[in-house]
Every structure is written in structure tokens, then in C-alpha cells.
Symmetry: C2
Subunit: 754 residues, 2 copies
């Protein structure tokens, strides 16, 4: 392995390499390796899934080659012709490169050469993309981000045909296309390149991978360490309302991304939807560095942060493999995405061959057309896969793990099912962050039970705002009321201001993932509303009495002033019934409020539950659910639905149940129960009714809260929480109705006789 010394001028270096003939040796070497190719050729029979991918990729690329070469003048937004054509070009380039190496068929190299030469002829004529809609407008695409995508894939194709091209062709491509493109997205767009963000990760990888492919150490240096002086105005915003610069954080480049994008556990502050997107440049550039700059020991960097990030990504999925839509995220994205295929294959081949990854690869049903994909496919054929069963886990947020986090609690119950609770008490998450401190979402084995709205966006669908974030993303999807968390006085957390949100974060109060009767996560938020403290404890209770785990939600709020508190529950499915009489707006609908997302909700019904335990039940994807909640005398219940003030039908018309209370300090206590099934084929409801009699708040002070759950079978469950001292060994004593509870640590959860 040749070590390239830093600081040698580029031209000299290229000349040296050409003289040494190194440009023509040991290719491919960027992602594919010469040895890997040797290993694959003729051995596809031992890896049927790989052989299948090889076959379909050949068919796809052959069809493209037959159609000819199209390099349209850039014009369209995502979804439009020029955008989709250039996007297809880079995917096909990369595939054709790998096919050339693996099959040896020259037509693939010829195609790549022709397409590259056409780009090299056209690119110099193009100015900035005419749309001018991005904070960092690209040339091939409407944003630099997509230009960077192009370069990441093109660099791999270039590496694969490097030896096939003449030195003259290479010089031409590098001079007229690759180097100018790399300079454009870095030197010319520091606001894109020089920041800690998934966009910049793509930018860094693009410049670095092409640098490695070209043997251009200057580009590699730039990619690794960023631009030394970027002169970015600290108040610059990106298209999502995020700040380009993070206060007190002045490093940039790929290594800085590794340092600052992840918590020490591998959690990515934007959430899994964007982590998935960022994983491609992280892993591809890392693999290219591992292949070409072993001195960096990039896989071991920061205590193997990339390996942790891959697992963090896989853990943030429901039972269907769909990512939790934390922050801006389009629902439906899953570990079947191409980026996750790449992550799983590279993690398997390069991070210790964990056999659980193979079971995911089997569900993905495809592998990368390279060494790592071949390794996975061969291992699958050897029957080495082990089932991936994600455990309950809590991730910290923040580069040093000091900014709250996300807890994922999974419980199976006695049936075949799963209940998965996601509680979010993380940092804001930059421009894609939502104002949903202490929110939760709930999943079962078939999908969403209590939903997070996700983003108001149809990614790449031109008819909906060009496929970009829609206005309703800001006005609704990011607002607190669009989430399952407390909203005070109809205003979002942190006034809906990114700057305020970025400045603070909740604190985890305590965590118990191995409790005998249940798993608990508790967190506090002191800054979302000045002078008001929010404290939520969520408990997943498993016991033989319940066929499915119960979710207990204790949401305390402390304030000196009287406020209006709204606690929304975005249940999925169809309302069945309630034991509270509600008055429906049958003849007229009006919005629930005027701002902070309330303007997007139609008020459909209201009720006065009175001071007692009350229930509401619903049916969702063939399952029965009931909310049982301890109400207070003046409480109001609201049933609302999305879709108001939505002139272009951008929002889903989903139902929401809201508990409203005027109070100073108060505590909301609710239980969500999954208790039965219904199949329209058998038409026989199984356990359609709640098994609970009531939920009662027995005791609530600054120091302790005690909740009781009574079942119809006559069982009593007591949950006691220490509100001000989470130390594991602290003793606690509370007297409730003449009975004394003693326990140690932040909670007590037990079945009692009465």
C-alpha cells in the first residue's frame, strides 16, 4: 500500500504517479478491490442472491445502454425530467462500473466512457441550476446535495474504468468535469460543504472519494478536514430553517462529521430517516479510506463510531423494519432502502461478520454488487443467518452524549405480538427537528398504534410542491400539537423557534429496562416553556394478567401560573366508542385554534368526562385498543382531525384525541391497552373490551406520585414514582389512604390485593 505524503503539489503528484505507472495498477481499489473481484468471478454459484442481483443489474444496465445516452441541460426540480435523468445516470454509472469489473464485458466500460465524455463536454457550459431554490444551488441538480450524490457514484465508476481509459481521457475528465465539480461543491459552496450535517457528509464523501479515485491528495485532505476558512455568516439558514453553523463548533470535514454527527452510542441527532440517508456517504467514503488510507484506521475511529451508527440505525425500526419517523421523516422508509442494504453489507463484511445482519439481508432480498455483497450472499447460502431481535435500548443524544436521548422499549407480552414504545427526549435535531419534547409514539407488530405525524412532504413527487417540504411541514408537522406531548397555552415548545430549541434539551430522569414487572423511562424538560417543568414517565407493564403489555403514561407539569394544558393522543384507526358522552359538531366544523398547528385541526367533538376514570376505544388494523385515563372535574375532551387551513390538500386527515385541562401544576395519567383482534374474514371479535376498570391518581406531590390501576378481574396495580430523587438506593415512604408504601429507588411497580 502506497502512502501518499501530504503537501506535495497536485500536478507534481499526478506526474509522479503517472511515471510510476500507479494510475494503472491495482484497480479497482475505491470500493471494489482487485482481490475482491478475483474472488467473485466465477464463484456466483456459491452466492445465489448475488448471482440474482448480477443478473437483474445486467438486465437493467443493458436496457439503459440500449436506450442511449442522455445528458439533458439541467432545468427541473426533483421529480422532473432532467433531475430524474441525471439521477438515473449516476446510479447506472456505478452499476456499469461494477459490471465491467465483475463480468469483464467491455461494453460497460465503453458506456461509462461515453457518458463521462458527454458530461465533460456539457458541464463546463452549465451555470448554476436555473431553479435557484436552494441555500446551495447545484449545477447538475437544483441543489449541491444532488451534485454530491452524482460525484459519490461517479467516483466509483471512474475507479472501475480507470485502466480502461487512456491517460488523455482521464486527464480530460479530471480537468473538465471531476475536479471542477469537486471544487464547486466545496470551495464555491462552503455553506454546503463546511458544516456538520448530512448534506455536508455527502459533500465530504463526494470530494474525498473522487480525490482517492483521481489520486488527488488535495481533494482528500479537503474532504477529511474541511475548508480551513469558510467565512460563513453565523446567522445563515438552510432550506429547512436550520443553522449552518453550530455555536462554538468550528471544525468541518469528514472526521469532524464523525466526531459531531453522532452521540457516543451512534445516535444521529436528525433521526433515523436522515441517518439512513447519511449512512451511504459515511460508509462508502469510510470503505474507500479503509482501502486506500489504512493509516487512518477509519473503522476504529472514535471507538468504532460507524459500527455503532449502523446498529443504531437498525434499532430505530418497528417490527416491519420501518424507521421511526423522528423529526422530519417520510413514513414508509425502511431497512429495505438501498442505503440500508449498503450499510448492512458493509457492516457484515467489514465490521466482524455479525450473523444477525444476515437475517436483515435476507429480508432485504438484495445485496451490493461488490465484495461485501458477495460476502453476505455467500454467508446466507451457507445458512449462517441468525434472527435479529432488537432489545430495548436507550440512546443518548449530543456529541458527548449529554443532550438527552431516545429510549426504545420493546415488550412481547404473552401473545405473538410486540409493543414498542419510542420516547423522545433528545436535542432539537437541527433544521429537521420537531418541537416535541417528551413525546412518544407506539407500535405493535403490524404498525403504528399511536403515531408521530412524520413530515408534511411527498419526497420527489413533483405535484406536491416539487417534492420538497411543504408549507404545512413548518405550520403543522413540526409543531408540538402534531405530536403526543403536552402543549401549554396552545403554543409549541420553545415558541417553535429552532434557535431556542437548539439551545436546550430534556434530561433523562431515570431508566429501567430490566425491571421485573415493567420497563420505565422518565425524563424532564425545563426550558420548553419558561417557568414550567414537564416531567413524563412512561411504563411498559408486562404481567400474566394482561395478554399484551400496557403502556402507562404519567405526565406531570409544574407551574406557578394557571395554564391551559392539551395532551394529544394521535391514535391510528377508527374511534369505536367512549363511556363519556361527547357532543359532535355535526353541522359545522371550525379550526381548533389559530396558530402553532392548531389552525390545521378541525374540532369534531367535545366532552366533559367529569372527575373519574374514563375510557375511549378504537379499532386499528384489525386490533382493539382502549385508552383509560384519570380525569378531573373540569377536564375537557376534544376529538379533532387534521386538514383545516390546508388549501392544497397537503395534510392527512388523521384523528386525534386531546385531553384539555386548565390548572397550575397537575398530572395526567393514562393507560393505553391493546386487548383484542378483529378480522373481517372471520368477523369474530376477540377480546373487544378493555380489561381495565379504572385508572386513579391516588397521590401527587412535589416528591411523589402514586397511581393505581384496577382491572375488571379485581386486580390492583400500584405505580409509585419519586419525583425529585432518582438515586437507585434512596428510600421512599408515602402514605396513601392510611396505607404506607415503602420502596427504594425512583419507582415502585407492583400488584396489590386492593
Amino acid at each position: 500500500m502506497l502512502k501518499i505524503p501530504k503537501k506535495i503539489p497536485l500536478v507534481v503528484l499526478i506526474q509522479v504517479l503517472l511515471v510510476l505507472g500507479l494510475g494503472g495498477q491495482d484497480r479497482p481499489r475505491l470500493i471494489l478491490s482487485a482481490a475482491g473481484v478475483e474472488n467473485i468471478r466465477g464463484a456466483e454459484g456459491a452466492a445465489p442472491l448475488f448471482a440474482e442481483v448480477l443478473r437483474t443489474t445486467r438486465a437493467e444496465v443493458d436496457a439503459e445502454i440500449a436506450q442511449g445516452i442522455f445528458v439533458p441541460v439541467p432545468r427541473d426540480m426533483a421529480g422532473g425530467y432532467s433531475h430524474e435523468r441525471h439521477k438515473k445516470n449516476f446510479f447506472i454509472l456505478q452499476k456499469a462500473g461494477n459490471l465491467y469489473q465483475i463480468t469483464g464485458a467491455k461494453k460497460y466500460a465503453v458506456y461509462i466512457r461515453e457518458l463521462f465524455l458527454r458530461y465533460a463536454a456539457e458541464y463546463p457550459k452549465w451555470g448554476p441550476h436555473p431553479t435557484q431554490r436552494s441555500y446551495a444551488t447545484g449545477k447538475i441538480f437544483w441543489q449541491c446535495l444532488n451534485d454530491a450524490n452524482w460525484l459519490v457514484y461517479a467516483s466509483q465508476a471512474y475507479d472501475c474504468v480507470y485502466d480502461f481509459l487512456t491517460p488523455g481521457e482521464r486527464a480530460l475528465l479530471e480537468k473538465d468535469l471531476f475536479r471542477p465539480l469537486a471544487d464547486f461543491i466545496s470551495l464555491d459552496n462552503p455553506q454546503f460543504f463546511n458544516r456538520i450535517h448530512n448534506h455536508s457528509t455527502w459533500g465530504n464523501a463526494a470530494v474525498g472519494m473522487m480525490g482517492l479515485a483521481m489520486h488527488d491528495t488535495e481533494l482528500v485532505q479537503r474532504a477529511l478536514y474541511g475548508l480551513p476558512n469558510d467565512s460563513i455568516d453565523p446567522n445563515t439558514l438552510d432550506n429547512d430553517g436550520g443553522f449552518i453553523q453550530i455555536e462554538g463548533q468550528r471544525q468541518a470535514g469528514f472526521l469532524a462529521q464523525l466526531d459531531y454527527s453522532f452521540s457516543p452510542d451512534g445516535y444521529f441527532t436528525e433521526g433515523p430517516y436522515y441517518l439512513r440517508y447519511a449512512m451511504t456517504p459515511f460508509l462508502l467514503f469510510a470503505k474507500a479510506l479503509a482501502n486506500n488510507r489504512p493509516d487512518l484506521e477509519i473503522y476504529a475511529y472514535r471507538d468504532s463510531i460507524l459500527q455503532k451508527a449502523v446498529w443504531a440505525l437498525l434499532h430505530q425500526t418497528d417490527a416491519q423494519g420501518q424507521f421511526f419517523p423522528i423529526n422530519d421523516a417520510q413514513k414508509g422508509m425502511s431497512w429495505k432502502a438501498r442505503e440500508v442494504v449498503a450499510a448492512v453489507d458493509i457492516a457484515y463484511s467489514d465490521f466482524g461478520r455479525d450473523p444477525r445482519l444476515l437475517s436483515i439481508a435476507a429480508e432485504q432480498g438484495r445485496v451490493l454488487l461488490d465484495d461485501s455483497g458477495f460476502a453476505v450472499a455467500r454467508a446466507l447460502a451457507q445458512g449462517l443467518a441468525k434472527k435479529f431481535r432488537p432489545p430495548s435500548i436507550a440512546y443518548r443524544d449530543g456529541a458527548e452524549g449529554q443532550k438527552g436521548g431516545v429510549a426504545i422499549v420493546r415488550a412481547a407480552g404473552t401473545s405473538d405480538g410486540e409493543l414498542c414504545l419510542v420516547m423522545k427526549y433528545s436535542a432539537h435535531g437541527m433544521g429537521h427537528g420537531h418541537f416535541d419534547k417528551l413525546s412518544y409514539s407506539l407500535y405493535d407488530e403490524v404498525g403504528e398504534v399511536v403515531q408521530d405525524y412524520g413530515a408534511a412532504r411527498w419526497v420527489n413527487i413533483d405535484q406536491k410542491g416539487g417534492g420538497r417540504y411543504l408549507p404545512e411541514n413548518q405550520s403543522f408537522a413540526k409543531q408540538s400539537i402534531a405530536h403526543n406531548t403536552l402543549v401549554v397555552n396552545e403554543a409549541s415548545h420553545y415558541e417553535g423557534q429552532v434557535k431556542l430549541g437548539e439551545a436546550h434539551h430534556p434530561e433523562r430522569y431515570f431508566l429501567e429496562l430490566a425491571g421485573e414487572a415493567g420497563q420505565l423511562v422518565s425524563a424532564k424538560e425545563r426550558h420548553a416553556y419558561p417557568g414550567t417543568e414537564l416531567h413524563r414517565s412512561l411504563v411498559v407493564l408486562e404481567a400474566p394478567s394482561f395478554p399484551n403489555p400496557l403502556l402507562i403514561d404519567v405526565f406531570r407539569v409544574r407551574s406557578e401560573r394557571e395554564n391551559q394544558y392539551d395532551l394529544p393522543l394521535w391514535f391510528t384507526g377508527h374511534l369505536l366508542s367512549s363511556d363519556v358522552d361527547y357532543v359532535s359538531s355535526t353541522q359545522r366544523l371550525a379550526p381548533l385554534g389559530t396558530a402553532h398547528g392548531y389552525q390545521h385541526l378541525w374540532r369534531e367533538a367535545t366532552a366533559s368526562p367529569g372527575g373519574q376514570s374514563a375510557q375511549m376505544s378504537w379499532l386499528s388494523h384489525g386490533k382493539f385498543f382502549t385508552l383509560t385515563t384519570a380525569t378531573q372535574a373540569q377536564d375537557e375532551w376534544i376529538l379533532a382531525r387534521g386538514g383545516a387551513n390546508d388549501p392544497h390538500f397537503n395534510l392527512r386527515h388523521d384523528p386525534v384525541f386531546i385531553q384539555r385541562r386548565r390548572a397550575r401544576s397537575t398530572t395526567f395519567v393514562s393507560v393505553v391497552e391493546s386487548h383484542g383482534r378483529y378480522d373481517p374474514v372471520s368477523e369474530i371479535p376477540q377480546h373487544p373490551f378493555s380489561g381495565l376498570h379504572s385508572v386513579t391518581l391516588l397521590h401527587d406531590t412535589e416528591t411523589h406520585t402514586v397511581v393505581q390501576i384496577q382491572t375488571l378481574a379485581g386486580e390492583y396495580w400500584t405505580l409509585a414514582l419519586a419525583n425529585a430523587d432518582a438515586a437507585p438506593e434512596s428510600p421512599h415512604r408515602v402514605e396513601v389512604d392510611g396505607e404506607v408504601l415503602h420502596w427504594r429507588g425512583p419507582y415502585l411497580l407492583q400488584k396489590t390485593t386492593s
Copy 2:
């Protein structure tokens, strides 16, 4: 086979049989046969699916036996404890009977004996069910229908343990339980037993099957031929608003059901949801008759009407095997239902072993635990299955096939997909009929594209009106506006009156299922609105130019007076965009109207498309669709949504697009186009935009209508219809814009150069 002479007094007959020892011979013989049991025993290995059913049924019944015997005092509606318990009892009785015969294990016979004896001890104490909510209140259940279900299953169990019981036990059961129950649902409830209806089919089968099991010829006679004199008031209604008696129709009993329930093609006038339900008693009683009364040649009866009915049932399903929700029907019911498992297995074993039935059995994944299920499972194991590919087909309605019908048009296009059009021009369909003359619904390979609402009912879900039809079924789901058909002056067809609806029916005008370019169905309705003629022609156009078949809809209406016409399109999914500017009700919603279902629609937006071709597109389950329609200058477009005047949240909040026009005679022309896909995992839209430029009504007179479709690729398609003469050989000549069209027969469909 012993022929039992009619007219011998019962007591004498029983004594004769006992003397002859025939009560103890050749059992089982009702559904199971002694020879069949012999055939099965020990041969389960040759039929793995049967062995699996045997295993799971044993486990299920063993678990029930372990729990003990429960015969609660009848009290609850469907969904409640006593209802569900008695329902479970009859299912388990039948299973235990078959298990006793197939395994020889006595515990099953003991269980049946105990349970029957308990019923015999309790039944005489029970009066009519306390609910009194049915037009025919039962004793065990809230309606006689469920009591009949009980007897159909119990008769099979009784047959299986007949020899196991002592003569004294048999005499007791027959005297205290079976005979009184059979008399109750027939003699005591003629309005239930003596009519042409799915309820009565159950009643007939119940009485007849128990009659066969008991060797009680009087019961068998009653079941076959009905009660001779029922004194039913001709104006009596059932719970669904249907008339008990059909005018001019005085026969009843099982043979009359076979004569009058089906058209000569096997179409069942209530629709497939109820045909599925009725198939069980039809086939079980028929099989019992085939086994015990071969003299009747019941399978050959009426030109093998039962065999035709089974195929009609299977044809009325979408690509997922779900039944078209024609008339009252809960969506999601499919050929996986137990009734269809029974139909497929009996049809396979008794109606000529059609191997296409085996492919459905394979998808069902279960078989009957009897001779026929064994035959299916063994044939599956032998690899005899052939794929069932339902063709386009048209069914006639009415006992003599003279009352309109239903056309099912299927087309595959050049992609993997399917487009399936269901056009309904049938008779009213009795109490479960909807007022939707000339309506259509549209399906693709994954589900609904243009939906029929189905019924407003959650079958058996107690929280929703006790699981019965909800008030909104009458006020909305049955009304014309809830369907894809023309509504005149905001009033439903036939004023929403069953009596008027039953008196008339549309006429098929012409049908072409083998056209070169497309399949066409055309029908006229003259009575839904007095003085107004409705004439709809639907065309499924397949051509290489279109990746998916197009649906062309030409809806002509003739009237002397000016009317308001509304043509709803119940598209499924989410509105994407329109080339017509619409004004949304962003701050306030009000109902679209006051009656005939309009009171249940919120008006969300309106538009004035102007006199041109206009488009609206939507995304549904990952696919893009566009409606292109020829508008007129004063047309109004309305976007609305279900849910108004729905105080108990009984309705789905589905969107609907309505074209509104004030005119005398006029013609609506629209095209529904499926043109692309989107997957949230790849996030790449494929063909997101319509391929059509415009749809134009070129010519429209009393005799001829000419429509032109122009594609963006510059193709022109011409559809010409003869409106007053459907004779296949009649010559037609129309001059349009100086160009002359010549053709023979009711239509011309061709691609033209301009």
C-alpha cells in the same frame, strides 16, 4: 340406500328404523360418510394440509374440552358473551363430531353428549331472547338466523355421535331440543322460514339437516317445500327494510330458494357478500341431500345451479380474493372465509374436481375436516392445482335472468397489473340493496382504485351499534351519492324507496368482452328518475400506447327538464393536484346537502373548470392515477369528504370528487388512468404524470355520441357509440367536423391519426 317413504307418521317411522337397526347403521352419513372416514383414517400423510387442519382442530377442541361446558342463559346481542359463547359452542360441536369420527377418540363424543344434554336441560326453560330486536327473535340468540346456524352445525355433530348415544339419550335430545328448535324456527317463525332470502336458506338447511340426522321425514319435507300456509302479511319488513314476501311469488323451502335466489348464471341478487354467507347452508344441505336423498339429484337441480353459484361467487372477487362490496357488504371479506373454504372443497370433491379450485384452496391454506377437505388436500399434495384466472364475465340478475346484471371486466395491460371494472346494472337486491343503478367500482392488482363504500356496519363489533347495521347505512351507505353513479337533484334513485327499487331494474344495452381494442359494457336505466333516462357506457381500453388499461366513462342523461346532475368519483387515496384552481374551505366546513346522503358529506373545495378538458390526480397505495374529463362552461367541481352529521363517528372520512352540472340532456365523459408508481423506500416516482392531453366530447345526439382522447404522444383515439340501436350489424354513419365515421354495431373504438 334406503328410500324413506313420505307420509309415514314420525313415531311409527322411528320405531321401524329402530327395529330395523338402521339408526345404528352407516353413520356418519350427513356430511361425513362412513366410507369417507374409512378413506381418511391413517392416510393423513398423503394430505399434509389436511393433517395440519386435523392437528390444529384437535388442539382447539381439546382446549375447549379442558375449559369445560358453558351454556349461558341467552342475553346478549352479537359481540356479547352469551352470543359469542353459543356461537363457539356450535362450531366446536361440529368439529368435535368430525374429530370423533376421524380419530376415534371417545372424549369428543363424550363432550358432545354432555353439551347436548346440557342444552336439552336448559332449552325448554328459555323463552324468546330478551333483546326483542329482530323481526324474528330467536331463543338461543337474538335472531332465529343464529338459532338456525346452531342447528346446521349441531345436526352434523349429532350425526357423528348418533351411534355413540343410547336410544334413550337420542330420544331425549330429539324431544327436548332438536325437534322443538326446528319447529320454533319454522312453524313458529314463518316470516323467517318461509321466504326467498339467505336467512330462510339457513332456516331450511337447519330444519332439513336435523331432519335427515334424526330420520324425521316431516322436517325434511318442510325444509324442502316450505310451510304450506304461512299467513304472512304482505307488508311485513325485515330488519334491513326488505319485504318478507316477493310479489307474485308464493313458493318457499329449499328447492324454491334454488329456483328463485339465483339467476340462471348463478348470480345471487343480494350480492357476493351475502352469497358467501348463504353458500354454507346451500351446500351443506345439498351435500346432506346428495348423501341421503339421491333421488332428488340435488346437484343437477336447475341445470347444476349450485355449481354455477360457486363459480359466480369466486368470480366476484378482486385480485386479492376480496369480494366486491356490492349492496350491503363489509369490506375485507374474501375467499379466505370459512364459507368459501367449504364451497371450494365441496365444489372440488362433488362438482367434477376442477383443478383451478385447488389453487384457491392453496391460498386459503386450510380445508374442511371431512371427505371433501381430504380430497382437496390430497390433490394439492399431488400437485394437481392450476392457477385460477378469472376472465371478464357478465352475470344476469333475476330468477329468469331478465333483471339486468353485473359485468366484471378484467384487463392486464402491458405491466404486471390488473384493472378490474365492476359495473352494476342489476335488480335492487332486496333489503340489502343499494340505490346505485349503473354504478361502477374499479380495482387494480393491489386493491380499490375507485371504491364502493360498502355497508356502514362493523359486523359483530358490539361498540358500534351492537354489530348491526348502523343508522348511517340507511342514511348514507345505501344512498346514490355514496356510489359512483349519477345523482339527479340531490335525490337518490327511486327516491331511496325499496318498493320502487324492487319494481324496476336497468337494462343491459350492449356488451363486448372480446373487442380488439377494448371491452365495453353499456346499460340504460329509465325508472330511477321519472322522465329521465340514464345511459352509461364503460370502456376498458387496452393498447400498446398505455402501460395500463384506460377506463373511459360515457354517462348520458336525457331529460325534458333542467336538473342538477352530480357525478361522484370515490377515488381512494390522497389528492395530489389538479390543473383547475379550486377554492378550499379552509376555515369552516358545512355539509354538502341536507338529505339522501348529502348531509353526510363535508364540502371541502369547489372549482369552476371551464369548458375544456381538465385533470385531477391522486396517489393511492403507491400508484398514480389521473382523471381526465371533458368539462362544460358552467360545470362545478366539488371536493367533499364523508363524516358530516355523524355524531358517533360511524362513517369513514373518505374523499370524493363530484362533477356537478345543471342541464337538461347532457353527457359526462371521463377517463381514469393508472400511470405510475411510487415506493416510499426508493422514493423515486415512476411515470408520475398523466399520458393524456385531453378528452373531448366531439358529437352527441339522440342517436350517436363521439368521444376523442388525445395523448401527449400525439395519438388520437375515437370512441363512437350508437345510442338507440345496439344491433350488432346495424350500419352507422356520423359526420364530425367534416370527417365521416362509418361503422357497424353499437360502437366504434379506434386509433386515428388526428
